[in-house]
């Protein structure tokens, strides 16, 4: 009940979606200043975005240029992370590889976000049998082992970055749907929704223009929390040869090819893993921090 009241008073000022998100962001940024670890996480993600955008400018070498005379060199000033079996500069490949990671995260998010949002909001708004069926389906997908299923999908569709993205998306929507449903359940009883219904707005109009927008901010937070898991699953698929194909500098695939020489030339397999670890660590930290900031119950304890 108190949730509904809070939502009402916010809606009385009827600010637009972007404005609401901006003010929430501003509030969050204020609290974030007190969280050094969270700030560090944001900094790493920001750095990752910069690196992905300007990889050609930053990278000291061409990521696909082979130089067999230079193969398997240990890390040095000339090659910060050493070279691989074809003499390619691993550091440059890692920088370019960030583009594949960002791409994966981006596409999985824009597939999973809307699907989860629609399923959750429809479920919460219509209730009854629709709700029961949709939530049962969500529970069932949740009880699937996601990596194994993604493996089987990627195997059937043929290995590529896009099948990896689809395979991950297929099992990544349920947590989003559950969250969106919970939000929709709160919002659907708000007075402004009743008002819209009174002046004759159709159910679909209410669903998409009045209820769904209210659920978007928390869906975005939840997506951030899931990023680390998505990165790890994508890297696993790449490691198994089911993601982006060589010579693309995908981090998981780089570990896989470095595995053959891991006992003699450790850096080939170890360096890409550090990149994966740092990135998913940053997303985990940011996700935790966002949750602490957004959830007052959490912050108080």
């Amino acid at each position: 009940m108190s949730d509904a009241i809070r939502t009402d008073s916010e809606m009385l000022q009827s600010p637009g979606l972007t404005e609401r998100m901006l003010s929430a962001l501003r509030r969050a940024a204020g609290k974030l200043a007190e969280e050094p670890l969270g700030l560090a996480g944001f900094a790493i993600i920001g750095l990752l975005l910069l690196v992905a955008a300007f990889a050609p400018l930053i990278a000291p070498y061409d990521p696909t240029a082979q130089s067999l005379s230079n193969a398997l060199q240990p890390p040095s000033l000339a090659h910060l992370a050493g070279t691989d079996e074809f003499g390619r500069d691993i550091f440059s490949r890692l920088l370019y590889g960030s583009r594949i990671t960002i791409q994966t995260i981006f596409f999985v998010s824009i597939i999973v976000g809307p699907i989860g949002l629609v399923i959750g909001v429809v479920s919460g708004f219509f209730g009854g049998r629709t709700d029961a069926i949709l939530m049962r389906a969500t529970d069932i997908v949740l009880s699937f082992p996601s990596l194994i299923l993604a493996l089987a999908f990627a195997a059937a569709l043929g290995a590529s970055l896009s099948t990896a993205i689809i395979a991950i998306s297929l099992t990544a929507w349920p947590p989003i749907a559950r969250l969106a449903r919970a939000e929709a359940l709160v919002v659907r009883n708000a007075d402004y929704v009743a008002a819209a219904r009174l002046y004759g707005a159709s159910r679909l109009r209410i669903l998409f223009l009045y209820i769904a927008p209210m659920c978007i901010p928390s869906v975005i937070v939840r997506l951030t929390l899931n990023m680390a898991g998505i990165i790890l699953t994508a890297a696993s698929l790449g490691f198994l040869g089911l993601g982006a194909q060589p010579p693309a500098p995908e981090w998981g695939a780089m570990i896989s090819s470095g595995r053959k020489f891991m006992l003699d030339f450790w850096w080939v397999a170890v360096m890409p893993g550090i990149a994966i670890l740092l990135t998913s660590l940053a997303f985990n930290i940011v996700g935790d921090t966002l949750r602490d900031i957004m959830d007052p119950r959490h912050a108080r304890s």
Partner: protein, 342 residues
């Protein structure tokens, strides 16, 4: 009101059956519907039309799709997963061969993670914001962020190549291969049954690193959940009463908190065990561990969908079964739900 528990049980069983049915439907779709030309994949592109049609009929692909699905299900219930291309055996017998290796690895891992993770979570909750708590938080955070296959490689580089503390990839030194009678298929158990302690220690030196690495992944979750369960209990009146009567922190935990969180912990352990099976798939490749994961990936490489789907179904089924057991354990063991049911 005993009917309530019975109907609740029936509901859970129904949920398990429906989930399993959907898993089988999904694998059917992956195996039969998604591949553009399964016949061409077998007979080759240049086969003459008669041979092509013959193969199509042999695979049952000329039947309507629902008939194909029924035949597929009938086969599965007879335990017939088809032939494996790689080994030439039936997939089912290959699975029986591979499963004990995965089971042994995952079981040792869950034991290690419970033995380390639960006390760490308890300590983190008892000494909140202390060094232990911060340490537990870092352990959990890194555990949630580290790619498990990479962690395995790093472990091998350090503990096998550099320090030589553990055995390398594989379940046992080549020298000992095939020297114990397979009874359970689990080398640690079989070697003890045969009284071959030397082989036991060798097998242990091989399994300890992959098991420890898998255990760490599970530990991240177990520690975090133990901590939050314990914190919840510590603020309850009965704990304050126990403290007021003079019980020290150790006694509070062993006599008051642990019995109250035991049920929740069992649920967490069952879920972690399922996740471990999944993690084992990628870990096995790094350690050349001849379990389901390695079998599945080898099959993937040559596009042997029968084997891939059988592995998907088996791991999926065990995963769901563990979730089911976790649910049931909760309902049976928790005195509060028992009370409510009565």
């Amino acid at each position: 009101m005993k009917e309530l528990t019975a109907s609740e049980l029936a509901r859970r069983v129904l949920h398990l059956v429906v989930s399993l049915f959907i898993l089988l439907t999904v694998t059917f779709v992956i195996g039969r519907v998604l591949p553009a030309d399964p016949v061409g994949a077998i007979v080759g592109e240049l086969a003459d039309p008669a041979a092509y049609e013959a193969m199509r009929a042999r695979l049952g692909l000329d039947l309507p799709i629902y008939r194909q699905f029924v035949i597929y299900l009938q086969g599965l219930f007879r335990g017939d997963f088809g032939q494996a291309i790689l080994t030439g055996n039936s997939v089912a017998s290959d699975m029986l061969q591979a499963f004990p290796a995965t089971f042994e690895l995952a079981t040792l891992a869950i034991i290690i993670s419970a033995v380390v993770g639960v006390p760490l979570g308890l300590a983190a909750a008892l000494f909140r914001d202390s060094f232990v708590d911060k340490f537990a938080r870092v352990v959990a955070l890194v555990g949630h962020s580290i790619p498990v296959f990479w962690f395995g490689i790093v472990g091998l580089v350090i503990f096998y190549a550099a320090l030589d503390w553990v055995g390398g990839p594989g379940r046992i030194d080549v020298f000992y291969e095939g020297m114990v009678e397979p009874v359970t298929g689990m080398l640690l158990v079989d070697s003890l049954l045969a009284g071959e302690t030397e082989i036991f220690w060798n097998a242990l030196s091989h399994i300890i690193l992959p098991a420890a690495i898998l255990a760490y992944m599970a530990m991240a979750y177990i520690t975090r959940m133990t901590r939050s369960f314990t914190l919840e209990q510590l603020s309850q009146d009965y704990v304050i009463a126990a403290r007021a009567k003079g019980a020290g922190p150790a006694r509070t935990v062993t006599h008051h908190v642990l019995p109250n969180i035991a049920v929740q912990l069992i649920t967490v352990l069952a879920i972690s065990y399922g996740n471990l099976l999944e993690g084992a798939v990628v870990t096995e490749i790094v350690f050349s561990w001849p379990g389901i994961g390695q079998y599945m990936t080898n099959a993937l490489m040559i596009g042997d969908m029968n084997a891939v789907l059988a592995a998907t179904i088996i791991v999926g089924f065990v995963f769901m079964l563990l979730n089911f057991i976790a649910d049931i354990a909760y309902a049976i063991l928790d005195p509060r739900t028992r009370e409510a049911a009565r």
